[in-house]
């Protein structure tokens, strides 16, 4: 699935939910399902600033694709992370760097997210793209030197 196909799937899924409670329950459920980050990666280096809750984000680069894992001490945050990871993980650095994440708006979440929460989400997205760009640069350097 491409990044956009994944987003569209989430949007479709959320269309089924009537009110905020259903949506939140779905998010919380996703939070519970999030494959946890390996404890060794729960370091201060992997901590993302700008959240009332703490978020750790770890990335790995394998076979031309970026793999993200993450965790948070707050479950709703975890649910949000989980969606973002679903959308962005296992794509090429270029796909990630170029991606336009429209699903957050589309599922009507942003109007429900506290600014602290959306700032957190934003920080995380920024961080993920930064990783992607870093891998892109690395790739280029490898190619140039190779």
């Amino acid at each position: 699935m491409t990044i956009n196909e994944q987003q569209d799937e989430i949007i479709e899924e959320f269309e089924l939910y009537g009110d905020w409670m259903d949506k939140y329950e779905a998010i919380i459920q996703l939070g519970k399902e999030l494959p946890l980050i390996d404890d060794q990666y729960k370091t201060d280096d992997n901590l993302i600033k700008g959240c009332q809750s703490r978020v750790w984000l770890h990335s790995e680069y394998k076979d031309g694709k970026v793999f993200f894992t993450a965790d948070s001490d707050a479950i709703i945050t975890k649910g949000l992370i989980s969606m973002v990871i679903k959308v962005l993980s296992e794509h090429t650095p270029k796909e990630i760097a170029d991606s336009d994440l429209y699903f957050v708006n589309a599922i009507g979440l942003n109007s429900h997210l506290s600014p602290t929460r959306s700032n957190g989400l934003l920080s995380m997205l920024k961080q993920m793209k930064a990783y992607a760009v870093a891998y892109q640069v690395k790739e280029l350097n490898t190619q140039n030197n190779g």
């Binding site: 409670m21 809750s53 001490d73 479950i75 945050t77 506290s114």
Partner: protein, 408 residues
């Protein structure tokens, strides 16, 4: 509902209490962060701007005269509210934070030398920590901390032994904004004064809840914010004893705080102007005065009683919630509750409460060291004002139950 106050009627003075959030009626339980404003205050602001807005002091024209009189009457109102000996012991600032910064900087320059100590407590708001850290760093002085127990009560024995000759000032909060603890400030002041050490009280969370008489307390400085006592944002108060304020160097320089200026030498003005550089927040001061009128009108004792009843009720209702534990169990307790439920993150609880229209605060409440002490990421805090009702407490309790259901 209090025996004395007709809350239903009173609520009509606060238009925002009818607001809807997510289609539900707002339940505003974030009064510790900022209070709502009665129409009496809003009308005062509006009248000021529509009828006599003008720059104060030194104006030859009538508008300026009327504005100056209103501004100085506001100072008098504050002075008599806290029973200051002199009106000029009341300095208008932007808020508690600026008031404390003023004292830290000016008193620090006057009195702090290398090796001296400043004594604060373990439950201070960042606004009563960081200004002291800054001046201590500047003067190579040392910041010491009165510890507390796990109920959130200061250890007064420790306080006594920390109170050495090195201590040049004690700066503590009257009421903790994250724990609700009411500190034994009279005793703190007495002990400090026995050693000739002045005391600053951060009354940001007290001025709207308990009567404060600075002469009876014999306190040297108090600091509070207008926005927490039903007044406008952007205005605050520093009270300081005349002797101290006269001795301390000015804080900011500029218009109004000088008597004469030449490039070679500047003579500073008398109190209170010496500490009020630049055009003051005239509307803010007048609005604060209207807020104090409002409080006086209800009666601080009646407010206290209504809030105490709310607190008791909330404690009872919330302790029925399975897995809920209070953070801060001091015997002397103000009308706010800080709590956690099971192992649910406070941010999650607060978020689900918000979606139900219930406004609480979550996080460290600008008291990170308190959270570190308890080893928690933060708390959920519901803070009550007299205009809150038992029905709202019921909604809070039900809202928490719902959050627990969804989150665990």
């Amino acid at each position: 509902m209090s025996a004395e106050l007709n809350i239903e009627e009173i609520r009509k003075d606060f238009p925002i209490l009818d607001a809807k959030v997510y289609g539900k009626r707002l339940v505003y339980l974030d009064n510790g962060a900022t209070s709502q404003k009665p129409v009496q205050v809003l009308e005062t602001l509006d009248n000021y701007y529509k009828e006599y807005n003008s720059n104060v002091h030194r104006g030859v024209h009538l508008l300026s005269q009327v504005a100056t009189e209103a501004y100085e009457a506001a100072r008098k109102k504050v002075a008599s509210f806290i029973n200051a000996k002199h009106d000029h012991e009341v300095i208008f600032t932007r808020g508690t934070t600026e008031s404390i910064n003023l004292v830290a900087s000016s008193f620090g320059k006057l009195a702090l030398k290398k090796g001296d100590e400043v004594l604060i407590s373990a439950m201070e708001h960042h606004s009563n920590i960081v200004p002291w850290q800054m001046i201590c760093e500047d003067k190579e002085a040392v910041l010491k901390v009165i510890p507390m127990n796990t109920n959130g009560e200061l250890l007064m024995d420790e306080f006594a032994s920390l109170l050495t000759d090195k201590v040049k000032i004690v700066s503590v909060t009257y009421i903790s904004n994250s724990l609700g603890t009411i500190n034994p400030v009279k005793e703190i002041i007495n002990q400090a004064h026995a050693k000739n050490i002045p005391v600053l009280l951060d009354v940001a969370q007290a001025i709207q809840h308990v009567p404060i008489d600075v002469q009876e307390l014999d306190v040297d400085f108090i600091a509070f914010s207008g926005h927490k006592i039903y007044g406008p944002t952007g205005i605050g108060v520093l009270y300081g004893k005349e002797e101290w304020l006269n001795k301390m160097p000015p804080y900011q320089g500029g218009g109004d705080m000088i008597k004469t200026v030449t490039f070679a030498k500047t003579i500073y003005n008398d109190l209170p102007y010496k500490f009020e550089a630049g055009t003051p927040d005239v509307a803010g001061a007048i609005g604060l005065s209207a807020a104090i009128d409002y409080v006086n009108n209800l009666g601080l004792e009646n407010i206290q009683q209504a809030e105490h009843e709310l607190l008791k009720y909330a404690m009872k209702k919330l302790s029925e919630v399975d897995g809920l534990r209070f953070i801060g169990n001091a015997k002397e307790h103000a009308s706010l509750v800080s709590f956690l439920v099971r192992d649910i993150h406070p941010f999650d609880t607060g978020d689900i409460l918000d979606k139900q229209g219930i406004a609480v605060r979550t996080g460290h409440h600008c008291t990170q060291p308190v959270m570190d002490f308890f080893g928690i990421p933060g708390t959920v805090r519901a803070s009550f004002a007299f205009y809150n009702t038992k029905e709202e407490v019921d909604l809070l309790a039900a809202g928490i139950e719902k959050a627990v259901m969804m989150l665990s």
